[in-house]
Symmetry: C2
Subunit: 288 residues, 2 copies
Amino acid sequence: MPISRLSILGVGLMGGSVALAARKHLNSCRVVGYGHHTDTLDQAVRIGAIHEATTDLAAAVKDADLVILAAPVGQLTQLLTSIFGHVKQGCVITDVGSTKRSIVAAAEQSLPSALRGRFVGSHPMAGSEHAGIAHARADLLEGALCILTPTPQTEPQSLDLVDRFWRAIQMHTIRISPEAHDRAVALASHLPHLLSVALLASQTDLSLDVAGRGLIDMTRLAAGEATVWRDIFLDNADNLRDALGLLRQKLDSLEAMLDPARAEELKDYLNSLATARHRMLDQRNLEP
Amino acid sequence: MPISRLSILGVGLMGGSVALAARKHLNSCRVVGYGHHTDTLDQAVRIGAIHEATTDLAAAVKDADLVILAAPVGQLTQLLTSIFGHVKQGCVITDVGSTKRSIVAAAEQSLPSALRGRFVGSHPMAGSEHAGIAHARADLLEGALCILTPTPQTEPQSLDLVDRFWRAIQMHTIRISPEAHDRAVALASHLPHLLSVALLASQTDLSLDVAGRGLIDMTRLAAGEATVWRDIFLDNADNLRDALGLLRQKLDSLEAMLDPARAEELKDYLNSLATARHRMLDQRNLEP
């Protein structure tokens, strides 16, 4: 089934970028944007991200073949349940949230029977420390990974439609469970963010004065939007605590190696991680 | 006093970049490079980093007005003491090491009376995860900060000469004690490096598969050369342990805020750090 009408609920950085990519790659698809702020919606129309804008949620989703929830993690469940009475039969719903267990569980508990199995959790692994439609761009998503988190309840055709959508806008897709997703992103995304914040918080006036590129890059994530990350951290707190526990073990091991008697071991350990970093870039075909 | 002859001991990434910058900005200065490997030295001559190359340490430093030790931290003291018998009267010596207490103390304990006060510790705050002359470039240093670490024993004219040298190649300079330097870089440089390593070591196969730009950037430092960083970590182990202690406190505070009842506090905390990051870039006139 082709997607002839796409509804994007929330046109900030991510919703706006999805919209731009859809306009670029899905020629015959009409893109509708919904939001609270008319100036944001106007800007989304002006930059060609959406064909039409509305602040009326029912109107936004009415004829949509695919609805994409692009609100912050803390507002997803509420947004999902408010569209049930307004979508057409056969509509498929997905989201772009950074955590997946809570929204997928909410969908499975609350979807009306006509929509059963038609919610598919998605997480495009792309972002920026800059928020808002002004920073949206199609190539934020192109070439990046989108994680789909189906469950046994997910309808195969809906999963297929959502998968085809992300691939149509040039993303790679993989499918894992919501639980495996939340554990993996706790390590790959939420822990790095927390570390970036803690590292910046540890600095002194003098250390900030002398800082070079290393600290600047390592604290980039700390510039992220506070409410967005607060919601993500709280929603994935259990996995984030586990990830922190693992990191603390690695820090303890490294600290124990700060001993001239263990110099060789420390060198080998650093070497093995440098090799792991090279392999990580190789697998992505990135320049070292 | 002008520097008409500059001797750079070690022509890797840092020595090579200093040489290229000196050639670019100090027209009448003859640059001599010393190293163990003739292929590295040949390459340094070929790319125009040095006028002449030698594997003979005595010949390398004989007529130099300024000698720059550009060897790894673990070899600096040994290199320093091996040139004493060969430098001319009036020669000034500096280095580019990432730690300053040990080399400055070694200089003050071992400099012969003719050279007393003529060693000035320097730390150009620039680098790369790539090592070797192939990655050397003048603009690695241009616009970056060079920290000078004089002590009461440092001769003012020597300090002035070294300061003028770094400014001549377009670096900014500041002067702090070796002790303050080592504490500050433990926070601004060595701790970020250790974190980058520990963060990468905490990943699983799946988390690496799903990782986006955040983890890629946060693990860049882990690609650094193992022996170089092993030596830095061991030489500054006490300060690095203190920095780690501070970081652990920040991580504990953040973990305690992973609680819906403290959502507002967590948001405010994240917000304050995002603001701190913006201020950090503003002070450097960098784009956010």
